[in-house]
């Protein structure tokens, strides 16, 4: 590692005038309102939700008027709840298959193919992929619902070939929401990887080519290590986005049938708002935040590792 940036900057800074320091402080001024707003609208609800998870606060009944402090009762209840473990498992499957495997791998593959294809093909493919991403979530969710439902597009297409389709949302709820999330989210990974791949120095690749490295060898030993930082960042972002997916699932299957697609955000919503048990719902939401933090920590380490 070279001399850290901060040291060389620091020596310049010492020489700079007080006026310069003041100017730097002033530069922070414009972001103060947004930091305050983030504090009020993001941090405060998270803190309230965390606090509520230790109480029995409810939408109605005596607990709505005078919530009682429960300690860890809500968390203990998860251990005896039959739906909660299933829900954790479904969340892990949803994130692993739709984000880490689906969006990430497909996004990388499309980005790689685009670097090799002609400009027209690349921009056409890019437009098609990005189209699903720019749709508002509720619109994308309805589109996916309309595609997979009993009288939907998929069954009409199958009908043209004389194949009688089933009700996909009912028969394969997890598969449909995973596919919908891959369809919707791949564009993000593709864009990240397009940008990352354009940073890969051509001469390194060419040198490897001279040394007789095959295509997959160049990908595995040259390209991927160079864009490792981008991969980690992308994984972190899509994992957190996918953990929080609610609208898509709610519109398509509402967590059903018989809880077969109830991921943690859906379960938290059902407990807090359908059953009015805000305390338990926020406890589930807190677990979701914890899972997100664990993933986040792992990826941050990956990014650090990639930089050193």
């Amino acid at each position: 590692m070279a001399v850290p940036d901060s040291l060389s900057h620091g020596s310049i800074r010492r020489r700079s005038t007080i006026q310069g320091a003041l100017r730097r402080r002033l530069r922070l001024l414009p972001v103060v309102p947004s930091i305050l707003l983030l504090g009020v609208f993001m941090l405060a609800p998270v803190a309230w939700s965390f606090y509520s998870s230790f109480t029995n606060v409810a939408l109605s009944g005596k607990a709505a008027l005078n919530p009682q402090w429960l300690g860890f009762d809500n968390y203990a209840r998860m251990l005896t709840d039959s739906v909660f473990p299933l829900s954790v498992w479904l969340t892990v499957v949803f994130v692993a298959v739709s984000a880490i495997l689906g969006q990430n791998a497909l996004g990388l593959a499309i980005a790689l193919l685009m670097t090799r294809s002609g400009g027209a093909t690349a921009s056409l493919v890019g437009t098609v992929v990005v189209a699903s991403w720019i749709l508002p979530e509720i619109v994308a969710a309805f589109a996916a619902y309309a595609y997979f439902s009993q009288d939907g597009t998929l069954n009409q297409l199958l009908g043209m070939f004389g194949v009688q389709g089933t009700n996909w949302l009912y028969a394969f709820p997890m598969a449909t929401i995973v596919l919908a999330n891959v369809w919707r989210g791949t564009a993000f990974s593709m864009l990240v990887y397009r940008a990352a791949l354009s940073q890969v120095p051509r001469d390194v690749s060419e040198a490897a080519l001279m040394d007789g490295a095959r295509g997959w060898q160049r990908l595995a030993f040259i390209t991927l290590p160079i864009i490792r930082g981008s991969i980690a960042t992308n994984l972190m972002l899509i994992t957190l986005q996918t953990l929080a997916v609610f609208t898509l699932i709610w519109v398509m299957t509402a967590g059903g049938p018989a809880n077969a697609s109830t991921t943690l955000p859906v379960l938290a919503y059902q407990e807090a708002f359908k059953l009015g048990d805000i305390g338990y719902g926020t406890a589930i939401a807190s677990i979701l935040i914890l899972i997100g933090m664990v993933f986040g920590a792992v990826y941050v380490r990956l990014v650090r590792g990639a930089k050193s």
């Binding site: 530069r27 409810a58 109605s60 009944g61 005596k62 009993q150 059903g256």
Partner: protein, 450 residues
């Protein structure tokens, strides 16, 4: 060049956020305002009409007062959630609102409803409400917190043409559950494309699943959900398993809609809008308000419903006494506990439930009248051919146990039906899981074997 751009962008974002925060601030009221919150959907506009009329009437009689109508467009479940959320803060709490009877007690506990005893004592029309209906707004402390708008019952609604085609003599009145199955099998044999006898199941239809299906079965076995005398929830009853078994038979033999259709929260729209009018469904269990969808101005207008449809009492399991089962619910109007002008709010409430408005609501929404002067009005009696049939069911009707725990228990019942019709669990397994969840929800001490 880059830095000014970045600072500019940050400023823009900050300004945007500030602007959006400023927009959400409440506009200052000029004079006095009464805020009314109620439900309105594309198939439920009867109440909206009543409130529009009441607003005009009330504003004309009370100069300087503005009535602020805030309809919520949502299903029954979501309406309840949004209303409860609004009531958590005095800034958003309504002055007068539309409240489901089964939530009254729980919301009184939550401190959302204003006690109306003193206002009602001074209101001369309160004596026009029948006594059993008044109980809908009474809380555990004996005080009245809500004024009923109307009530309802549930019955079997059948399409005469479909039954005729299967050779079933009319008028049809099944005496036992087996009579229902026998008739349904006949209809299926006569025309395999019809849905012979559909009953709701699963969590998709929410309270509809229990009110218009499961409770008709359960209360006809001699069992019940809750023992009012012991104040305990019933677990481990044979009636519960038998009821699940009956649903399983309907769904397994394809006498009902497909499980996939049953789980769609909009399935009732197809029942009222397509299947029954088009003669694709033999019969179903639905509320006394069914004609409100088909009559003129309803969301699924069907001129022939008066001739083609018939009503039958839902039978008990083996025909035991009292020979039929029905369930009743209904909605009320209540005054918010956090209202700044309780007298004005109550005055508006009385305008909305006066004879003229109550009559219009009961006719347009096919409700069973709770005001004696409306019940004897020729306009009400002649509103549709089924008024007498469904009103008679009050004799065999049951009410939900409206405790604060009820919504969770109801969901556990819905989940049990869903597990059975999707084949995930056998009736015995689903009943055992229901028992376990009830004990988990309310504690062992509040359950009993029966």
């Amino acid at each position: 060049m880059r830095r000014p751009v970045r600072i500019g962008a940050a400023l823009l974002v900050a300004a945007g956020l500030l602007a959006s925060a400023a927009c959400s601030a409440q506009p200052q009221a000029i004079g006095k305002t009464v805020k009314i919150v109620y439900q309105k959907t594309d198939s439920f506009t009867a109440l909206d009409k009543v409130f529009q009329d009441a607003k005009q009437e009330f504003e004309a009689a009370n100069a300087g007062v503005t009535v602020d109508l805030e309809p919520i467009q949502a299903s029954d479940d979501d309406y309840g959630t949004k209303l409860a959320l609004a009531q958590r803060s005095p800034d958003t709490a309504p002055d007068v609102f539309y409240e489901d009877t089964f939530k009254v007690r729980s919301d009184v506990d939550a401190g959302y409803l204003l006690k109306l005893d003193s206002q009602l004592a001074a209101w001369d029309e309160w004596s026009k409400f029948n006594e059993s209906a008044k109980a809908a707004g009474r809380s555990d402390d004996g005080s009245i917190y809500a004024v009923p708008l109307g009530t309802d019952t549930r019955a079997i609604w059948y399409n005469k043409k479909v039954l005729q085609k299967a050779g079933i003599p009319l008028p049809w009145q099944p005496k036992t559950w087996d009579d229902i199955l026998a008739a349904a099998r006949k209809m299926k044999a006569a025309d395999p494309s019809v849905i012979p006898f559909s009953m709701y199941a699963g969590t998709g239809t929410g309270e509809g699943t229990v009110m218009q299906s499961f409770y008709e079965l359960l209360y006809g076995t001699g069992s019940s959900l809750y023992s009012e005398s012991d104040k305990k929830w019933v677990v481990g009853s044979k009636g519960f398993t038998d009821s699940l078994q009956f649903l399983k038979t309907l769904y397994d033999e394809k006498l009902s809609v497909t499980p996939a259709d049953a789980l769609d929260s909009n399935v009732w729209k197809k029942v009222f809008g397509q299947w029954l009018p088009q003669g694709k469904m033999g019969a179903t269990v639905e509320g006394s308000y069914a004609p409100s969808f088909w009559q003129k101005g309803g969301s699924y207008e069907w001129a022939g419903y008066a001739q083609d449809m018939g009503v039958a009492k839902f039978p008990t399991q083996f025909g035991q006494d009292p020979g039929g089962v029905s369930m009743s619910g209904g909605w009320t109007l209540a005054v918010g506990a956090k209202t700044k002008s309780p007298d004005l709010a109550f005055k508006f409430l009385t305008t909305a439930v006066n004879k003229k408005n109550a009559l219009a609501f009961d006719i347009n929404n096919s409700q069973i009248a709770v005001r004696t002067d409306v019940a004897s009005d020729p306009g009400y009696l002649g509103a549709n051919p089924f008024v007498k049939d469904v009103s008679d069911l009050v004799a065999v009707t049951h009410y939900r146990p409206a405790t604060a725990d009820y919504p969770k228990i109801s969901l556990a019942v819905q989940q049990a039906t869903e597990a059975v019709i999707t084949g995930k669990q056998s009736p015995a397994e689903a009943a055992a899981e229901y028992d376990a969840s009830v004990k988990n929800l309310v504690g062992d001490a509040k359950t009993m074997q029966k």
